[in-house]
Symmetry: C2
Subunit: 353 residues, 2 copies
């Protein structure tokens, strides 16, 4: 198979971990005689520093012309603590999501048995958890009109959805549910929000086309609670952009660490694959970030964008084996981890390869 | 002390549990020779059934003329699954919050040592956790303008804040932080939302008036994660209406159960005290709901609205003693709870009294 892959390391630890996602793809190409060619581009804080623009046209063009994108992370504390900054790294990520029509963000909460003890949740609560999130990614309060009074006395963001936006992601989630345990939970706040009532209405309608899938509706506050109380309750979870942002980060604790979770953003064209963790500037450049989420993002790319299921499985198995042998990055150690098995970013990446 | 207290049991288990919050207040009046007089009013689904209005004028008038309000719960599945319903129970709750100017919702995450084992989180992670949430309650996407296309193709909710709305709740939270461990974490999504940037700007400004309080800003997705990963990290948490709704429900798992958490809503006038749990129609009328959140809401009323600290402490101690003796409602049992110590609503309420 011949594919052009664009690598965008982005900010902070994105630089370190994305190397290993890319290395995993190269290894697969070698093992299975695929021809993967790689290009690289900038986005986020690094792009602002270089060009003034968090998503330079060159990056966007390369992205549109590639077969899949491996992305690292975005963001920088400098902007976080300056509410008045006009140009911000995150604008780059939001723009590329919109421009590529990446309306479906798929976040599997993959729980490796070896990491049962790494979580703050009790192993007995976690065991057997397997959740697949479908987060809407190009609508909601992320993209509605923003206003801000000149004198700083007022600000607003419009939360909104069109019917078709809800429908297309709902269809993707129901299709996935049909292939799994046939249970779908849609999360909203329909007791307060008009947007959520539209959401619920559309999901109810789409659910009629999937009578084999058991559909449940849950309020976001309750879902945030149930996810901690009884994560096994969930299988496919379908939700809006903002609620999905919150729930998937929360759910990362099921997998032991944010450093373990990959995500796929798909839609109209090129797929976009990234860890769900952020740029984590506090640990950037220290060779301690967990590269597994980037490596697992590469596996998702192989499976979802290229249909290479076996190759994807080889990567996931390599990660599982490495964990089984006892190797850990600091974020997934616990008190019983042997000191010599605690690895830095590069060593962990190399072990998986 | 002479006080007029309005009791609004509301919907579902609100009817059962609020009895015990009221009984606790009566007991305190008796023990300390206070004169508490009680009136009752309807709100929510029960009010819609009786009058067509989730918040009848009579209830609102009584509320405005009382010294404090003890509320139960609101909501009914009938409306939840009917996105097109125009009249909804929750409108009653939102309207009374607005009409009484209850802009600050205070939710203490009180962790009884006896319940360490009842949580899905590991006891070692939980031990020593003590969080006080300040959730803004009369602004945000809850109250902004809503629109809905006639043909059902579009819906929107305006998320917005005025500077003064953020400032007044920030001041309350900083004042509380000053009296506690002098740490405050403000939660927002300033990397995406204009409203959050205003929020952060105001909190930064107010924090200058409290140089003795260590202020941190955190994104909501990260906060939802950290709350599970390391709840001890938090002391006073200040956040907007929607984010507070989500985080406090999630945090209920720290206390072992939603059935344990009380809340105080205060602002311009009469204080409003309620459990954070909902109407839970699935268990309503079965005498299994946990009355402790209502009883602890009564304690918050004594402390916050009437300044009766000792009386409040007597209630909290009675709850702690009852738990120490081993009594549990079903929501807070675990495998080691002796069968004869599992009590229904009424028996648990009676034990505390
Ligand atoms: C960086 C930020 C804009 C982004 C989001 O909120 O979508 C991130 O948190 C994510 O989940 O991908
Ligand atoms: C019932 C609902 C409107 C309410 C809210 O979202 O505020 C509830 O969840 C709460 O937290 O008090």
């Amino acid at each position: 198979m011949k594919k052009n892959i664009l690598v965008i390391p982005g900010d902070g630890i994105g630089q370190e971990v994305t190397k290993w996602g890319k290395a995993a793809l190269e290894k697969i190409a070698e093992l299975y005689s695929h021809q993967f060619s790689f290009d690289e581009a900038i986005m986020g804080h690094v792009a602002i520093e270089a060009t003034g623009d968090p998503l330079p046209d060159e990056t966007l063009n390369k992205a549109k012309n590639s077969d899949a994108i491996l992305f690292g992370a975005i963001g920088h504390a400098k902007y976080d603590n300056d509410p008045s900054a006009k140009v911000r790294p995150e604008q780059g990520l939001l723009k590329i999501r919109k421009e590529l029509g990446l309306y479906a963000n798929i976040r599997p909460i993959l729980l490796f048995d070896e990491l049962l003890e790494a979580s703050s949740l009790k192993p007995a609560i976690l065991k057997g958890t397997d959740i697949l999130f479908f987060r809407e990614l190009t609508g909601d309060v992320y993209f509605g009109e923003k206003t801000k009074a000149d004198d700083g006395s007022y600000a607003s963001d419009l939360m909104n959805y069109h019917r078709y936006e809800v429908e297309r992601i709902a269809v993707k989630a129901f299709e996935a549910a049909r292939m799994r345990s046939k249970r779908l939970c849609s999360v909203d706040k329909a007791n307060v929000l008009e947007t959520s009532r539209l959401w619920r209405d559309v999901v109810q309608e789409v659910s009629k086309r999937y009578p084999d899938v058991e559909t449940e509706h849950m309020f976001i506050d309750n879902a945030a609670m149930q996810l901690v109380k009884n994560p096994r309750k969930f299988d496919v979870v379908l939700t809006a952009n903002l609620f999905g942002d919150i729930l998937t980060d929360e759910a990362s604790q099921i997998a032991g660490s944010m450093g373990m979770l990959a995500s796929a953003s798909i839609g109209d064209g090129t797929g976009f694959f990234e860890p769900i963790h952020g740029s984590a500037h506090d640990i950037a450049g220290k060779n301690i970030a967990n590269p597994l989420a980037s490596i697992l993002s590469a596996a998702l790319m192989l499976e979802i964008s290229f249909g290479l299921k076996e190759e994807a499985k080889v990567i996931t198995n390599a990660v599982a084996d490495t964990l089984k042998t006892g190797y850990r990055t600091t974020d997934i150690t616990n008190t019983s981890t042997a000191q010599d098995y605690i690895l830095g970013t590069a060593d962990m990446g190399a072990k998986v390869l």
